[in-house]
């Protein structure tokens, strides 16, 4: 609550006789003293990490400019001197009472390592693939990420590791493409694989307390990836463009099943939550199997043009996610999922009435549907959350 809003409320409560003048003073003092320690460091943290990232991007740009007048030995010497200085400062900051300095220095150290790797590649004209450089960098900073335990660097490592997998899978010379990606459409399975892989890694990382930050990071990307996958699957059904075969789907099935199994490795997850996520994974795989099998069984291209099938899948998938968040008592995410379900219903409405929506009557009806849906959701959202939590008990 903002300070001005708090002051107004306290004045109202005092005027109504709900609290005494002394209580008002004590609450105001308490909140004033608490606010800087709660919000200040986070604001500074964000700005400092942003500054470290911008500084590192500047260094990488400087490296990329490849100034010919500076000898290679001087560039390398400067890079290693900077890296050594940062490493020494980081070691000194490890035991410091304030973690902020360590986190900022660790961010700089990690990104300067990447810049130095780029410089080495530039000076020696390395012909390697981007995923190879990314893999080497992640290996080099992995122990540092492990000891950092929290802050920005574990999140940077997690996001980069997902990027590494995607870059590797999309590289035409990599093993993945040779095994599973004979056609462009086959890479569609990455939409299923990435969230499953994140869920699997997040669950496994949750077993070790030092990897708690990485586990949270993979959880976040699993959720974000699942949303993208759900929308992508809806698109897959709605348009007649995508064609899958069983072979590229095989790794998606294996990784998704491993992710489902790993849910039981997670102590903090209620049993109902596990079952709901398993249902979501099963539903997503089942959505693809008939099309892939039809493609495998015959030489003719299977058409997937079923708009309402896509909408039905998306609605059920989002409701499963909403139920999961209701079980975990995460109200905002529950609300967000139900809003997305409502939006998909509106899209179905426009798909069904088609050109009628552009007529005067159609526009009026559409406006009323929008207002009615929003009001209905707003009025029933609390009861809806309680109902869903009760149903999945």
């Amino acid at each position: 609550m903002r300070e001005r809003e708090l002051t107004t409320r306290l004045s109202d409560w005092t005027a109504e006789g709900l609290i005494t003048e002394q209580a008002r003073e004590r609450i105001a003092t308490y909140e004033r003293e608490r606010a800087p320690s709660r919000r200040g460091p986070w604001a500074i943290y964000g700005v400092l990490i942003l500054g470290a990232c911008i500084l590192s991007v500047g260094v990488i740009s400087l490296v990329a400019a490849n100034w010919r007048d500076i000898p290679a030995a001087a560039k390398l010497g400067l890079a290693f001197a900077l890296l050594g200085g940062l490493g020494a400062a980081l070691f000194r900051a490890y035991d410091a009472p304030r973690r902020l300095r360590f986190d900022v220095l660790a961010t700089l150290y990690a990104l300067f390592s990447l810049a130095t790797l780029g410089l080495i590649a530039q000076i020696y004209h390395s012909g390697g693939r981007p995923y190879q450089a990314l893999l080497l960098w992640l290996v080099l900073i992995a122990p540092m990420t492990y000891i950092a335990t929290h802050g920005f660097v574990p999140q940077l490592w997690v996001a980069s590791s997902i990027g590494l997998f995607v870059v590797w899978a999309l590289d035409e010379t990599a093993l993945w493409m040779r095994l599973f990606g004979e056609r462009g459409d086959d890479l569609w399975t990455l939409f299923l694989i990435v969230p499953s892989l994140c869920l699997l890694l997040g669950n496994l990382a949750s077993r070790r307390p030092r990897l708690a930050a990485a586990s949270r990071g993979y959880d976040f990307w699993a959720f974000a990836g699942a949303l993208v996958a759900i929308v992508a699957t809806d698109v897959y059904f709605t348009f007649d463009e995508m064609h899958l075969a069983t072979r590229p789907l095989a790794p998606a099935i294996v990784i998704a099943l491993a992710a489902a199994g790993s849910l039981w490795a997670r102590a903090d997850l209620p049993q109902r939550g596990r079952l709901l996520l398993c249902a979501l994974i099963g539903l997503s795989l089942l959505a693809y199997l008939p099309g892939a099998w039809a493609e495998h069984a015959s030489s003719y291209r299977h058409s997937n043009g079923h708009e309402l099938q896509g909408a039905a899948y998306l609605v059920v998938a989002l409701l499963l996610l909403a139920a999961y968040f209701a079980v975990r008592e995460q109200r905002r995410l529950f609300n967000a999922m139900t809003i997305l379900v409502g939006l998909r219903f509106l899209i179905v409405y426009f798909q069904v009435i088609g050109d009628l929506a552009t007529t005067g009557l159609g526009l009026m009806a559409s406006g009323l549907v929008l207002i009615g849906t929003a009001l209905a959701w707003y009025k029933t959202r609390d009861r809806l959350a309680a109902f869903v939590a009760e149903v999945v008990k």
Binding site: A64, N66, F91, G127
Partner: protein
């Protein structure tokens, strides 16, 4: 330095030490490798400039570099065999001409170089073109267009350093037989 955190020290030193070792390894390959000059050409009509580097191909006799194996059709040998390693015997004759001959695997027993070969270069064949993972040269942005034009007009050579196992690193780009910096400076004067 504090001695109570050997694990922390090792974890924080790894990026620095790892990158130093990588640099040392690359520099050692440049120093130890055998020098060989190979002509280069562009992938017409593709732009040679890709970001901050030139991409090119080694201008070798493709029939000599990527011959069809016995029992293979030309298409089989040249089209899509990225995992198959190819060995090339490169020999500079008395007139500084580069002779190219494909070797069978049994003809090369590293680190000994077969008779008549200055170096043995290891690579792969893609669509009938030999690639040794040296087809990239980083250049300053402002000099890039001139270098692009020079390589496109086949005035370029690449200086490779090849180790005894057939691995190669790029040492220098030559334009009309001179290091590219000198060649660019001459044309600017």
């Amino acid at each position: 330095m504090k001695a109570k955190h050997p694990g922390v020290l090792a974890a924080l030193a790894l990026p620095l030490v790892g990158l130093l070792l990588l640099t040392a390894w690359k520099q050692a390959r440049v120093i130890i490798g055998t020098r060989v000059v190979v002509p280069i050409a562009g992938y017409d009509p593709r732009d040679l400039l890709s970001g901050h580097y030139l991409t090119y191909r080694l201008d070798l006799d493709s029939h000599a570099a990527c011959p069809a194996n016995e029992g293979d059709s030309d298409a089989d040998a040249n089209a899509e065999t990225p995992e198959r390693t190819r060995l090339l015997c490169l020999n500079t004759d008395a007139n500084d001409r580069l002779e190219v001959r494909a070797l069978a695997t049994y003809e090369f027993d590293p680190p000994a170089t077969p008779d008549g070969c200055t170096v043995v270069l290891r690579g792969t064949c893609h669509f009938g073109r030999f690639s040794a993972n040296v087809e990239r040269f980083y250049v300053p942005e402002k000099d890039a267009p001139r270098l692009d034009g020079a390589v496109r007009s086949r005035r370029g050579d690449i200086v490779l350093r090849v180790d005894r196992f057939g691995g190669a690193v790029v040492e220098e780009l030559l334009l009309d037989g001179h290091p590219w910096r000198e060649a660019i400076d001459k044309t600017s004067d």
